[in-house]
């Protein structure tokens, strides 16, 4: 979480895992097209959505993320053919487990964004940032030692 000292307004910290071949390129396109999306979205580039280990998501929360989103190629379009199919199952189960532990289920999300969807990338991020701002600071799944 980052708090702007002047306004004390809550600004969520969002971590976005983006696969190199689609979503990261989509983010790039959003940038070159001068579309705006919140600066609080920190993008972490991964080779494929399938690279995202559940631990990555938990670690992001530990280090103070208020929301974590994973983006990959649309099902059927994965650069490695099947990576996102596995990732889809994995994330479904992980999110369900987080909900089971009572952690806000809206704080995690998966979106499929292709390299041509700069517009969609910006829209997804704006929407997610809005949702997280509404939810406020993540207190349930953070490590107090990592908080400033």
């Amino acid at each position: 979480m980052q708090v702007n000292e002047n306004s004390k307004e809550f600004k969520p910290l969002i971590v976005a895992f983006c696969c190199n071949w689609c979503s990261y390129a989509g983010a790039d396109l959003a940038g070159t097209s001068r579309l705006s999306y919140p600066a609080d979205v920190k993008i972490i580039r991964v080779p494929c959505s399938c690279r995202v280990n559940p631990m990555f998501i938990l670690k992001a929360f530990e280090k103070g993320a208020d929301g974590v989103i994973m983006c990959g190629c649309h099902p059927g379009d994965c650069h490695y053919t099947t990576g996102n199919y596995y990732a889809r199952r994995r994330m479904t189960l992980l999110f369900s487990m987080l909900d089971y532990l009572g952690v806000d289920k809206e704080r995690v999300r998966v979106e499929w964004v292709s390299a041509a969807e700069g517009q969609r990338f910006a829209m997804v991020m704006n929407d997610f940032a809005k949702k997280i701002t509404e939810l406020g600071e993540n207190v349930k799944l953070g490590d107090i030692r990592c908080k400033k």
């Binding site: 559940p54 631990m55 938990l58 670690k59 929360f61 530990e62 099902p75 059927g76 099947t82 199919y85 596995y86 889809r88 199952r89 994995r90 994330m91 479904t92 189960l93 992980l94 999110f95 369900s96 487990m97 987080l98 909900d99 089971y100 532990l101 009572g102 952690v103 806000d104 289920k105 809206e106 995690v108 999300r109 998966v110 349930k140 799944l141 953070g142 490590d143 107090i144 030692r145």
Partner: protein, 357 residues
Amino acid sequence: MQEITGLMVKRAKELLEAGEVQRVIGWTTGDFCYDVTPAVFTKAEDLEEGKFVYNSFCGSNLSKYLIQTLRNDINAVNTAKAMAARKGENPDDIPGPGKTLVFLKPCDTYSFNQLLTEHRIDKSLVYVIGVACRGMADIEKIKLMGASGITKVIDAGDKLEVKTIYGDKSFDKKDVLLEKCACCKGKEHKYADEVIDPEPLPEGEGKGPMDRMAGVTMLEEMTAEERYAFWNDQLSRCIKCYACRNACPACTCMKCVFDNPRSGVDSKANVTEFEEKMYHIIRAFHVAGRCTDCGECSRVCPQGIPLHLLNRKFIKDINEFYGDYQAGEAEGQRAPLVNFDAENDVEPSIVNEKGGN
């Protein structure tokens, strides 16, 4: 129990003496008759009844013990071969490790199949005797129900006669079953070279009296806040002894992430509640789709944390989202998390759409 123990000892002795097997993995008693522990027997004379036991406290799943036993034996043979080669002898003259006899209860055979599927054990080195089981008792429940100073427990059909220094007590076995036995999947062995079952149950009978998903459903019906409080309460008691990992026949990595100081997640006692949650989510996740629901993790937890509620949540979700699946039902199954259905798999957003609490 007396009768079946006799049959087991007899058969194990025969196989050892005939040289068909080199060692036997079974159970032996500890300081008290109820703290039965796994043991490896290599000599027929050690298999006397009294040393080798099979009673209502043989809950431990011996499939897990095969991994290390077989590995040790193979290492010993390899070392002997290397020594022989160095001395200029023919390494091929060194005998192989021979077979290991293991006694498995019905639920343990699921784990055995899972280990075969994952190539963790070599079937040709094992001789499996499936043993009949009528449910294993939980000593903690017996103690909670008022028995202290226990000196002896006698199996008497549906009853357990407990002798204590304060007098005798009798318990209905069904009241003191281990959690896993109360929800037993069935009394049929899914793998066995032979089965010892003097009085087989009629087919289809033998499931535990309780619905194994009842606990998960109950939690799902709570609000998120209640669930959060429930798990904080439970997991904050964890002392990170790793018994749940060590006993689990699905946790078989040679190097576990939680032992690796470079993983950034190794720790002993938990410093914050985050670490508790991380450990438990990851432990359950690493066995998701491979957990046979053998119940060992909950049984061994010294803090009595209901770990089965985490494993069964994954099992329930997998069944709901990807179709019914029972890990270890047969050898060679493809686990749901290393599989997919391009057209029919649900999107992760289903967790939000399901709405609820």
